[in-house]
Each structure stands twice: as C-alpha cells, then as structure tokens.
Symmetry: C2
C-alpha cells in the first residue's frame, strides 16, 4: 500500500495560508488536519481536539521528554507542539496529513520527515502583504511593523521548501496545492511497491 | 520569468501513453508537442512538421554530427531523433514541451536535462497489458510475445523516473499528468527569480 504524505504549509502572516489550507481541506478527500497541542487557554469557540489539544504545562513537558512531539516552540510563555503519534498513524494508513506551521517548526519537521511535502505560500508582493496586514485593522502601527519585519524574514526561507505558491488568486492557489499533493502521490519513490507488484505478477 | 518544463513521458507499448499524451495536450494550454525527425518514409496521412520532420539519411547524420539532436536511435534501419533547438527555444520562452519517448531515449535526455519532468506510464497489471496488446489484433503471436517481453523490460525502468502514473482510468491518468505539470511549475527551484523579486521589492 502507498503511504500517505505529510504536507507542511508555511508562509508569512498575511500570505493567506490559513484560508488556502481551509479551502483545500474542504475540497480534498482523505486528508486530515494535524491538531496541535498547546498550554494556552482555549479562546471562545475553540474546541479541545478540534482546534487544539489543550494541556497543562506539566503534561506538555512530559510530551517533550518522551519525544512525543514532532516539533514544538514556546511563544510568549505558552507552549505549542505537534503530536507525532497521530501523524505516524495516519501516514501508515495511507492518509495524507496537513500541517500548517511556521518556518522554524517546518525545518524541525524536515529533519524527521525529509520526504514530507514542504510548501511555502508567498504573497504576490511585499506591498500587497503590507496592504493585507494593515487591512485587518486589529493592530497598532508598532505591531504591524514588527509583523512585516518578521514576514520578510520568513519569505527568505521560501527556497528551503520544495514548492512555492504565489497567492494571487485564492482559487488558483488552492488548485496548485491540490495539484502538488496529487503529483506527490505519483512520485516513483512513493510507489516502489506498486512497480514491484506489476513487474512480479 | 519562469522557464518552461521539459516533460518526458515513457511507458511500455499498451500502457496507453499515446492516448494520455493526446488527451493532455488537448486539455492543457501553453504546452507544445516535440516533433521528432526521422529518415523513415511518411505513412498515409502523416504530415511533415506535424507528425515528424521527414529527412534523408545524410541530413540526419549531419544533425547527429552537429550535436543538434537531444537523443536519437536507429530502429529497423531507420533513424529517429529529437531536435534540440526547438526544445531550448520553447523552454526559454517559458513554454512547456512534451516529449513522448522510449526509456533509452529518456535516459539520454536526463543527462542533458536533469531538471526535466520524467513520467512513466504503467499499466494496471501485466495481465491487463497483455490483454490490451492482444486486443489490437494486428500482430502475430510471435510479435506479441516479443512486445510483451520488451514491455516487461521497460517497466523495470520505471523507478528511474520521477513520477509514475498507473493508467487504470484514462481520465484519472490525464488528471495526474496535469497535476504533475502544475506542481512542477511550483517547484521552488524553478521560482527562485520570483522569490528574489518579492524579497527585494
């Protein structure tokens, strides 16, 4: 049987990776979203096991010590991490799994899953990225500047990914992500069992 | 600007690569078919420049000596080859080009275009391949046996390609080929100029 693909999507804030991933998951079949574990408190409307696994710090540290996390990070005093076991199970079942994660986390994942499908979402331009981030209108000028600087830093990491998608039109970007996953299913390296079966029967 | 992709499709006789390529070319836009040069005589209905470039042996040998062919082979006393210049022009223009070619030719192409998109079309099984080849009803038993033995030899080369497509249903196979070409357009290595442009503007 063919193993599933681990699809890792990153991109700077404002590039639209969340929207692309949601639209892709709605369209695609047989792909699951990887739910992260976190020590931060649930926000209104967030459901344990769907949005995050909400755990306390002691449990989280046990997961780190037990090597149960594919990657993790501490952000503003809260821990965030990707449980490894679920991912391994899905992949063994031949299912794809989608991981939306920052560049630092993605580079950690790459060490463990070099055959993962690493996709970076780019904005059409920095000017457009700026427009999108400002357009949210939820942040002060200082936070916006910080976020833009961070985004520029992230974009420089794009070459470390296998694929880049320029998010000019949402529909095109979702189609590209679908095409990438379909193409990866056809990679000869993922189909050696099928080749052998045909040769030997 | 992004360069075009050289898409190289191989597969054993009976796997359906010709049908897949024709259907794909009808659907796709911006992809051209590479027309081979040959010294064999045109068959009824074949048009020079569309089906083949029909040339005499002297001209063909000049093309070999002038390194004007990407690959070539002699089959039953006739020469067949792929003119290099057209391919280089199309790729430089950002257009994709499709090359339907046997495994030996494909391996020659790989040396010159390691970034080519190498796709191998597989039959669902050897039994099905046999059924398809026999179903043509145009050949004697001896030729059929020869063709089947050659097909088995070709299938063993599938692992040397980047992608394999199992041609179970024609529509699915064409979709997979389309997805592969779309995904290859998103390869980070083909988009370094775009990444640099976004970072620097």
């Amino acid at each position: 049987m063919r193993k599933g693909c681990l699809v890792v999507v990153s991109g700077p804030s404002g590039a639209g990776k969340g929207t692309i991933c949601s639209a892709f998951l709605e369209r695609a079949s047989g792909i699951a979203y990887s739910v992260s574990a976190t020590t931060r408190s649930p926000r209104r409307g967030e459901v344990d096991g769907r949005d995050y696994y909400f755990v306390d710090e002691e449990s989280f540290k046990k997961m780190i010590d037990g090597d149960e996390l594919l990657e993790w990070a501490e952000v503003y005093g809260n821990y965030y991490g990707t449980p490894l076991k679920k991912i391994q199970e899905k992949i063994a079942e031949g299912k794809d799994i989608l991981l939306e994660i920052d560049t630092q986390g993605a580079m950690q994942v790459k060490k463990r899953f070099p055959n993962g499908v690493f996709v970076f979402i780019l904005p059409p331009s920095l000017a457009e990225l700026q427009r999108r981030i400002r357009g949210r209108g939820t942040e002060g000028e200082r936070d916006i500047e910080k976020r833009l600087a961070a985004s520029e830093g992230e974009i420089k990491m794009a070459s470390d990914y296998r694929y880049v998608i320029v998010n000019d039109k949402l529909d095109d970007a979702v189609s590209s992500l679908s095409a990438i996953v379909e193409a990866e299913h056809c990679r000869a390296s993922r189909n050696q069992d099928i080749i052998n079966e045909i040769v030997n029967n």
